[in-house]
Amino acid sequence: MLEVSELHKRFGAIHAVRGVSFQAQQGVLGVLGPNGAGKTTTMRMITGFLPPTSGTAIIEGHDIVDQPVAAKRLIGYLPESAPAYMEMTVWNYLDFIADVRGFSGGERRRMVGETVERCYINPVRHQTIGTLSKGYRQRVGLAQAVLHNPPVLIMDEPTDGLDPNQKQVVRAMIRDMARDKVVVLSTHILEEVEAVCGRVLIICAGSVVFDGTPAELKARSPRHGAVELRVSAGAEQLRPALQALPAAERVEAEGDRLLVYPRASAQLMDEVVGLIRKQPDCRVVELKVLDGRLDEVFGALTAPARRAS
């Protein structure tokens, strides 16, 4: 388990992280936020790269400030853009990581061999890291982070700069690992949150502004539970009738679509369907309940920061 309590970081006059606290259990926790929100700084403090101005992180009972070496043993960390020694071969690099992680002899060889297989970098294991494509380099970074099978895995933008296929591969690996690990990843790709995260944390201007599941995040969208209709004939009569439904709050027209916002989302669809049946001269070609849009909620939650900057 990872417990982060009241982390603060000041860089001179800039107060970059202002009291971030959260707990993470097994599964994937996605950290979202606009650029410069303090995601990377927070991760650097949790992994012991930057000393916090105040507050701390406790990794499986080990305090990163008081017992840095013991805590670092339990963490795997993939920094932003997966830095590695460009002049080394993949195998030598992972061998070095395993060496510092305290593995030796046959165990080390076995460990590196397994990791190379698990991260799909076996074909390039004797290549120099500097000659690898971005996708392979990212996977070498991931291999470095998971080599010692850590209970806590922290990744800063693990899919940044990858093509759609590579993103799928990395996401599948992350989902796979999250079964028995605490995984914390930062991203600014909203679809990724839905694809891999069980829980979301939104950080804005150094503070946590949302902590919950992706579904809860979507539910905050004003469109959540709204009914969208595409009408090919009779839209004029339908619109006031929809407006009059008890479950409808208001109706908006968007091109040939009508959007009915809910007052109480539960019955809205039933009422809309009942209404359409009673209006034979209306032709409805498409009807669906909207789930809400993450980008809207994200925009609303992080709006104060945008105005400030």
Binding site: F11, R44, F49, P79, P83, M86, M88, I97
Partner: protein, 245 residues
């Protein structure tokens, strides 16, 4: 035990890194060519008609001035620039372990390069009977001097992510320490500065301590001097790393 294991792991990687890039070979060749050329043609080794290595060791402080900062500049700067420092310092090890590991690797590399000048010793032995004690103490002094330059270079490398800045700063600091105790400089000071000031400046310089080794004098004070320069510079580098932004 953990300290030794981690230091050794860092040192091993650093050495592998040296020899996986062509820079190490170029560096070695440049040093060997330069040292042979200067010994035989500038210092007139043959014409001097003496079976000792003074003309050889005389130039080491000046050649190290260019070559050691070049070997040291990437040690931390490159880690900072490429971001690997973040991976390195989130591994379960401490800054002193990483510092010592890198220092020992680079020193070992410089040691190998210096010892590769052995054909000059063989030449001297063929031509006459050099005092082997003086030769050994000369090499020891040369190694210690290289270590001191290296420690300075590690410090300047730890304070910047730019290798060129690291190189120039190391060169300036080493040049200062080299000139501080050199007889022409101290002779100049003698005319107007009080005696204690001249001695203080000279005590900080590399040259008087290095010269003692070249005369075959093994004095604990000279050993302590080089050790203290190295320890001081490495501690300063460690502090610079711990307090980075």
């Amino acid at each position: 035990m953990q300290f030794i294991k981690n230091t050794r792991a860092i040192a091993r990687r650093e050495l592998v890194s040296y020899f996986e890039s062509p820079v190490a070979y170029v560096f070695t060749i440049v040093f060997l060519v330069l040292v042979s050329f200067i010994t035989f043609f500038v210092s007139n080794f043959y014409e001097a008609g003496q079976a000792d290595l003074r003309p050889f060791f005389f130039w080491h402080p000046w050649m190290f001035l260019m070559l050691v900062p070049a070997a040291a500049m990437r040690l931390w700067s490159e880690e900072r620039r490429s971001g690997t420092l973040e991976t390195l310092l989130t591994l379960p090890l401490t800054v002193p372990q990483a510092m010592l590991g890198k220092f020992l690797a680079a020193w070992l590399f410089l040691g190998i390069v210096i010892l590769l000048t052995f054909p000059i010793v063989l030449t001297t032995m063929y031509l006459g009977q050099p005092d082997m004690g003086v030769v050994v103490s000369g090499y020891l002094g040369s190694l210690l001097l290289a270590g001191a330059y290296l420690a300075v270079g590690m410090f300047t490398s730890a304070i910047t992510r730019n290798q060129v800045i690291s190189f120039v700063l190391a060169l300036v600091v080493c040049l200062f320490l080299l000139l501080a105790g050199w007889p022409p400089v101290t002779n100049m000071l003698v005319r107007w500065a009080p005696d204690w000031a001249v001695r203080a400046v000279a005590a900080f310089g590399f040259m008087p301590h290095y010269e003692a080794f070249q005369k075959g004098v093994l004095d604990v004070r000279n050993l302590a001097y080089f050790a203290s320069v190295m320890v001081f510079m490495l501690c300063a580098a460690g502090l610079a790393l711990e307090n980075r932004k």
